[in-house]
């Protein structure tokens, strides 16, 4: 540490508490997801009875597209906010929220299909147990994310969002990117790996 900068209180700079806080939360959430991912990998190909992943899982193309593109739209929204373009912010932020809601709808439709047509329940076999717990945990995080997005969207539409809220918005976008990253892991483990494992 350069002593010249530390001895002058005016030069004393520390990271923002909100950003550091949300990154720490993301670290904790990663640990939580790790256990469920490990459980999924551990039980992969070990179900005693069907249905097996290769029989029932279809690649969730539209949901994935929605979630991945929402990371881009939230980035555009942030750029608008920094540039002071409030209508642009509301528009991009609204699209992000809609994409998040669409992802939830997509997951709900997938689960409906699996439960009522493929007879895969959480209690059917270890595949059902680990699939619903891992994908469900991720969907739960998307729900929380969508609620946060909605909160910002409502205050933005009511004109309550100001330039000193950029850190709040940034923290929420970190969380949303994290939810997106987790989906990459879930996608790899559930929809790429496990459908290739023969029972």
């Amino acid at each position: 540490m350069n002593s010249a900068t530390t001895e002058n209180p005016a030069d004393w700079k520390l990271p923002s508490a909100r950003k550091f806080g949300i990154l720490t939360l993301i670290l904790a959430e990663s640990a939580l997801f790790t256990i469920f991912v490990v459980a999924y990998l551990f039980y992969m190909g070990k179900s005693l009875n069907g249905p097996y992943p290769s029989e029932v899982l279809e690649f969730p193309l539209l949901g994935t597209l929605a979630l991945f593109s929402s990371s881009g739209t939230i980035f555009m929204a942030e750029r608008c906010l920094l540039a002071g373009n409030k209508p642009g912010f509301s528009l991009w932020w609204g699209i992000t929220t809609a994409l998040g809601i669409y992802f939830l709808y997509f997951t709900g439709a997938e689960w409906h299909h699996l439960i009522f047509e493929k007879n895969l329940l959480i209690s059917t076999n270890t595949f059902g147990t680990t699939f619903y717990s891992l994908v469900g945990l991720h969907a739960f995080h998307v729900i929380v994310g969508v609620l946060l997005l909605l909160g910002i969207l409502i205050s933005s539409l009511r004109g309550r969002l100001h330039s000193d809220h950029t850190e709040h918005v940034e923290a929420i976008s970190y969380y949303w990117h994290f939810v997106d990253c987790i989906w990459i892991v879930v996608l790899t483990v559930v929809y790429f790996l496990s459908v290739r494992v023969q029972p």
Binding site: P9, F20, L27, S123, N125
Partner: protein
């Protein structure tokens, strides 16, 4: 006319007295406790709640020891005995050890880094109350689980709740659910508080307080918080999995349907072993502050001490399966976990030698905090040596789940953690209340507790060698265990007498203790730079730090530390 008079009477009614407005009234005090977001009040509340649960869990330990005092004893019914050791373990770990650590961190970290409060004061209050209610939820199981009509319904599956004992078939009713939900709730509170501590340290330090100048106490609390952030979510995942198994028929640990009971052990100990280091961190933290101040020397090898703590935490993430040698892992896994566990002893040894080197040649002042810390050094050494023994897989096969293990971890958690908690309470008591703790009462406390502690737990090493398994309800008289079990129980009575002196000392010194002044120990860290007790805003003017001992610099302008560092 009559109407007018009534109106006038109404008008003259005195303003309603708000409940809780009277100064010093009970409602006012409760209101302040519930509403407060001040890190110092919350810190003291953490410590007070920890002491409360400590007394409860201590009483449970007393029941366990009374049951085991004589062979073929039936002092407790067997099911109550199982509940007692489960509740004792769960309480001591989650409702005593961690809240104590958080209490000290809450009170001291902002003061030591020259901040006015934690980074997120309301999150801090949230963390405390979630922890406190998780404790109440756990204890509500005594009356709540299947209801009062089937009394005696606390969790009885042991503190690590091995599967498949927790499945619906073997654990009927709701006792296990109380355990699960309480720990899930407590985990949320712990993560919240740990996050708060980390953000406070990294984003709230006063000018000049670089990471290289942090008191080692703060470093230990940072490491502790990182471990909480990484480990506690694993426990939460475990609790979610048990709940899914029990309520939705999931198959995580259902061995009949392809589930794996050993997976639970792995998941639990991935949390459980870092947890052990979470619990010993406050001991490192407090000792590293007390020993320099009472030896009148700066800490020996500051960078190495910090590196050692970080190394211990890092290695502790990869040693979990040394709790599972008996489960029958492949020998490569055994070899890995033996090696990684033995590695922990290197940084731990460095710490012990550095504490000794700090004392060597120092002008020792045998005040209560130093006395407790010296006892800690001896006892922690014994605990570490038995730990090294248990880390060797063949030795562990012989003594796993015996009283040797019980003795080992009680030497760590009582001989290590609790002794330094006492040291910390005596050291910072003047800070919190402006009164000195009574030295004579403290000595009674020390000698009774230390003697009682060794009488209780030293014989348990030998009971383990003689083959006494842990958690057994009772035993035959022909095993050669009688005398040592009786001795162990007598030791508990002596420890309890020590605790009585401790509690009496806290109350006595609060009302009749000598006034301490702001800085009774002539210390060096920033918490002593403000008044004792500190004002709500801690520092009227943010301090400027130039070295690791800012208060020394202020007291000795002719020879400040920053000229030498």
């Amino acid at each position: 006319m009559a109407q007018e008079i009534i109106i006038e009477e109404n008008y003259r009614m005195p303003a309603p007295v708000h409940v809780g407005d009277e100064k010093g009234s009970l409602t006012r005090v409760i209101q302040q406790l519930v509403f407060t977001v001040d890190h110092k009040k919350l810190g003291l509340m953490y410590i007070a709640a920890g002491l409360l649960f400590f007394v409860i869990a201590g009483l449970l330990a007393g029941l366990i020891r009374m049951q085991l005092a004589f062979p073929n004893n039936h002092f407790l019914p067997p099911d109550v005995y199982n509940q007692s050791f489960t509740m004792h373990g769960t309480t001591m770990i989650f409702l005593v050890g961690m809240p104590m650590a958080f209490g000290f961190a809450n009170y001291l970290v902002p003061l030591m880094i020259g901040a006015r409060d934690m980074a997120f004061p309301r999150l801090n209050a949230f963390g405390f109350w979630v922890f406190f209610f998780s404790g109440l939820l756990l204890y509500f199981s005594y009356v709540g689980a299947p209801g009062l009509y089937a009394a005696g319904s606390a969790p009885d599956v042991g503190w690590f709740a091995y599967s498949p004992l927790t499945t619906k078939a073997f654990s009927r009713g709701h006792s296990t659910d109380y355990w699960t939900l309480s720990l899930l709730l407590g985990g949320i509170g712990s993560v919240a508080t740990a996050l708060n501590i980390l953000v406070t340290v990294f984003c709230m330090r006063c000018p000049g307080m670089t990471l290289g100048r942090l008191p080692i106490f703060v470093w230990c609390m940072v490491v502790l918080s990182f471990l909480v952030i990484l480990a506690l979510p694993c426990l939460s995942a475990c609790q979610i999995m048990i709940s899914l198994d029990r309520y939705l028929g999931a198959k995580f640990f259902d061995t009949q349907a392809g589930g794996d009971a050993v997976l639970w052990q792995h998941f639990f100990w991935i949390f459980g072993h870092p947890e052990v280091y979470i619990l010993i961190m406050p001991a490192f933290a407090i000792t590293s502050e007390v020993i320099p101040v009472f030896s009148r020397k700066p800490i020996f090898g500051y960078p190495v001490m910090v590196a050692a703590v970080v190394a211990i935490a890092f290695i502790s993430l990869g040693v979990w399966a040394h709790h599972m040698f008996c489960v029958g892992m492949v020998s490569l896994a055994n070899a890995f976990f033996v090696t990684s566990t033995l590695l922990v002893s290197i940084p731990t040894g460095i710490k012990i030698f550095n504490w000794l080197a700090t004392m060597y040649g120092g002008k020792l002042r045998f005040e209560l905090p130093l006395i407790f810390c010296i006892a800690f050094l001896f006892q922690f050494l014994i605990a570490g040596l038995t730990g090294v023994m248990l880390a060797v897989a063949p030795f562990d096969w012989q003594l796993s789940d015996s009283y040797f293990v019980v003795a080992h971890f009680h030497y760590i958690l009582i001989g290590g953690l609790l002794f330094t908690i006492f040291a910390g309470i005596y050291y910072w008591y003047p800070k919190a209340f402006g009164k000195l703790p009574n030295h004579k009462l403290g000595l009674w406390h020390f000698w009774l507790f230390a003697i009682g502690f060794h009488i209780t737990f030293l014989p348990q090493h030998f009971l383990g060698f003689l083959g006494m398994p842990r958690r057994i309800y009772t035993y035959q008289s022909d095993r050669g265990w009688d005398e040592m079990n009786l001795l162990s129980t007598i030791g508990v009575a002596i420890q309890s007498a020590g605790i009585l002196f401790f509690v009496y000392n806290l109350i006595y010194s609060y009302f009749w203790g000598k006034k301490s002044g702001d800085d009774p120990w002539d210390a060096w860290t920033l918490e002593w730079a403000t008044t004792s007790p500190p004002p709500e805003y801690n520092f009227a003017k943010l301090p400027l730090v130039k070295s690791r001992r800012p208060l020394w610099d202020a007291k000795h302008p002719e020879d400040p530390d920053w000229k030498h560092e």
